[in-house]
Amino acid sequence: MKSTVDLLIIGGGPAGMSAAVAAYDAGVRDILILERDAHLGGILQQCIHGGFGLHRFGEELTGPEYAGRYAAMVKEREIPYLCNTMVMHLDENRRVTAMNEEYGLFTIDARAVILAMGCRERPKGALGIAGTRPAGIFTAGTAQKYVNMKGYMPGREVVILGSGDIGLIMARRMTLEGATVKAVCELLPYSGGLARNIEQCLNDFDIPLYLSHTVTEIHGKERVTGVTVAAVDENRRPKSETARFIPCDTLLLSCGLIPENELTKEAGVPLDRVTGGAIVDQNRETAVAGIFSCGNVLHVHDLVDYVSEEAALAGNSAARYLRGESEKKIAVGLKTDGRVRYTVPTHVTEAKDVTVYFRVSDVFRDARVEVRLGDEVLLSRKKLKLAPGEMETVTLKKEWLDKADGKELSFAIVTA
């Protein structure tokens, strides 16, 4: 095993593969991807449903097809990658400690590192549901892996807590495989999933979606026998008079995704409190020189197409960094009003057109997205509907950034 590499990419999912391809195409030749799974592709391998790639490839692909296209690009370029390889540690000098069966424990010094580890699901321990802890409680993604990759059905009568897209997709998938999905409960008054998934995964199969509802108790000793479901008030507290028992043998949790940043923290990279991902500039470079971050480890994306796009940007940035071209010219902070929950990037260091991704805190109708410099409104864009489940973008113009050097641009949602 060699001990140095120009660019080391942690994670061989959609972000890692796209970053590798972009860096290669920008001239970097000494690249290594480390992937803990047995294959490249990441979570796309178990997302056998369609709906991926409309932006990136102009056609609707399934997860394995989308992953396969990027894996083919990696292989065409003969970019080295190691599967079944777990990264154990990353330090601020970009020394990576990893292990696999073939090489045991090994270290590699990288001139640049791209973090592309993705995210994981919020587990039951983080939800604080009362009752027993019998078998039959799964995150939706775990159930997806069982059904689509292992050929096991987790259960026959299912209640789903949370209406994220993976939960909705699994409601349809388990129904098609013969299970009965009795209810999807969502704590919030709106679903975090895409409208098309509510339609084709729930409505198509007459699966009820209970908004402003939660699971208040899990029943069963060895195996789940049912759950108590109740409506919640505006403060998200259960209303006990509405509680009712739903018999089921399985509870799926689709309650949000958390960027997986243990390695990032070990390297001393500061994280954003809202996204749970690194604080980055427009190049996706973190506060630690030569360490970049992209994809769902940086902030949870709605579509994989945007993961690929962002990762390509990180790959290009790493290539520039390796050529010694990264110049810091300006300092512009991006501030949010709370209705805009966060922005990626969090700050801008170069005066050029910069696309900013953000998410909103609530559903807003007939609203305007505003970007201001002090009292001056630089951009005011009308939006019929803004929802927390969807990522929004705004492109900052070079001249605004020139003007804002040393100051902050503020992002706000304005409603009538």
Binding site: G50, L54, P64, G68, K150, G151, L176, A195, R196
Partner: protein
Amino acid sequence: MTRNLTCIVCPRGCEMTVLLDENKKFLSAEGNACPRGLSYAESECTAPVRSLASTVLTESGKLLPVKSASPIPKGKLFDAMREIRVALAPDTLCVGDVVLADLAGTGVALVATANAADL
């Protein structure tokens, strides 16, 4: 009469209002951001179709992801699943190769979405 629809063609999920005549025949639609929404609305009000994705067991006992090559009638989804459940795929199949030529009598093929050798 009118009918409200959520377009499922792309992740945008346009909310549409469809105008139907007294025989529930499609007349027009609004709220769609693109022409694909219009054809979705007409199809949805005439003969709704859905894409189907699932897995098929391979000869070596792995799960091969598959999809319908094009959308099939919504009412045929469970018939198609019954055929998919008992199908067996050779280990030589590649992305796009046909697993079942005529899914549940729809005339639509079931195709592989991964290379069986890479599983």
